[in-house]
Amino acid sequence: MKTITVKSMSFFLAIALIVFTIPQSWASGQSPVNGSQAGDDELLTELLWPGISNAPVGKRPSVGVALAGGGARAFTHTGFIQAMQYASFPIDYVAGTSMGSIIGAYYSAGKPIDGLWQLGGKLVKLGIKKDFLNVKLLPLVFKNKMMPANNIKRIIGEMFGSLNIEDLDKPFACVAVDVRTGEKIVFRSGPVAIAVRASANFPGFFEPLQYNQRYLIDGGVVENIPVDVVRAMGANWIIASVDNVISDSMPENVLSVLMQVIDVRGRMLAEESVKKADFVVDPPVGGISTIAFEKSIEAAEAGLLQTMKDMPAMKRAYILKAIKMRTEAE
């Protein structure tokens, strides 16, 4: 067994050595060039980027981000936002669903990015998982009563207090569903805590959140990647940050089966949403289950790495969208 591991490792290393010796221009699909062309694609990106990214909206297309739901996997958005900040990529509008709404609201409130990295650990400490683990099938069947998501309510309350969406630093929206009518409810104003709690209110076990004569549950049921929402807010160019994979771990109990079913449904909806996005960042986080909040750092690192890998392509796609508008504004 050990021999096989060493051999396969050696094979990959050999491949890596070959790949590393291939000129970058070949790898990018560009024909080998000579003279002044070598490295020009990278250089032009580098020279156009600051002129476009530093311009105010109006001189460039506005950028919206749609942060998907996915429980613990949605912490991939932490890494995504971090990489966007590193690259000085402008974000003008934020929309989120479920856990994506909590992270989106936190970022839109102008809270420091370090806090987002710590958020997963904090949620574990404050007992977010308890609400899920406390769900027992028999009481649900025999008492015929939904569980109150007390810990989640308390945690979100502590995070956002009495803050209103309209007071956030960046325009923000999140998605929930009225379980009685099936209507998609988009929160664009009002208390942040209520909006994100509704958006992240896991259906089937937790009580629907009653607000303004609505009975609200998790928005992931109707729009897990809120691309349409952020477009409606006014974004001209949209990046979807998704965790669009079904957990590859075997469901162990009724709750995890239900979550997996919701994941499958979310993925079907996501296929349509990602087609409408201008750029999609989709890190490999399939090994992380919806409630594995202790793995939030792992998810965030996957998001960071994937976004950094995608960044040159993302910058180029946005430059191509923006270059004419920016030049005409000169």
């Binding site: 290393l13 590393f20 002044s36 490295g39 156009l48 530093n54 191509l320 004419k324 005409e328």
Partner: protein
Amino acid sequence: MKINISSGSFKMAFFLFLSSLAVCPASAWFFFQPKNKAAESILKDMEKAYDKGNCLLVHELYEKIFAENPSAEIREKVYNYVGICYEKSGPADKAISIYKLASGLYPKNAFFSYRLALIYNETGFYDKALPLFKTAIKKHFNEVGALVGAARASEKLGKLGEAAKYYEEALSNSEDEDISVIKEFASCLIKSARFEEARAVIEKGYAIKPEADWPALIAKTFAAEGRFDDASAAMASAIGYDPKREYRISKGFYDYWAGNKEAAESAADDLLAADGKDFLAAFLKGLLLYSSDKKSEADKYFRLAACGGNFVSEAARKMSSAELPDAKELCK
């Protein structure tokens, strides 16, 4: 429990032990010898061959020395020389096997995990390299090298904050002022949008060895902040050291964004005069004409730029008011 030495069974056992010593072959005594002379002598030859850079001989002696059942101490040295030789002359996978084996056999010796980490870093397995460098740092083995290795691996893994910490520590621990590491540190800070800190590091590097790269890096920090006049001035300083095309076209673009269109045009014209197929200069010239509402004149330059690399070509096509034919037709 007491042993009764006068008992019959003990006497019998003692007798058998003495008899076995008498019939033992000489080779069995090897393990009781304090030193293995033959292995030591081969090791000395190996050291000499290694010092002379004769890896072929090192490999030959490697085969030979193990026939002498060398001590653990000698083996440790052998793995060291042979590993480095495989690194130098290949194949790298053999070096990896040696280092993996040796780091398991000699866990206290951080040399093997350090070398393994270097190979992983070079071949792009940064996630495997990072913990090994961390181990080397803990054991204070080649601390500066391990810190720089950890910084590079962290940077590649996107952990820019962690990378910056390692670079900083490496530079503060290093007695020599390694210019290339200072540049890497500055670039890492620029990548993480820590522009002011980057400028402080760059100024230190510039004080040690004034050269074009430093003001060029400063220019990048200013441009990233949208301070294009400052970026242009810094790039002019870089051009003073080295008037290479990359710096001249960069200054041209910074001037364009700063609204210094005459300076930008002069840069584009100079570069096009030097090379009529300078696609970036053609693109810049096109932008200047387009923004001055001379769109048909601009099209001539975008047409030329559309023969550049993939992205240059795509950007030029976006800007061109006319539909351009495909590259094969256009760039005959």
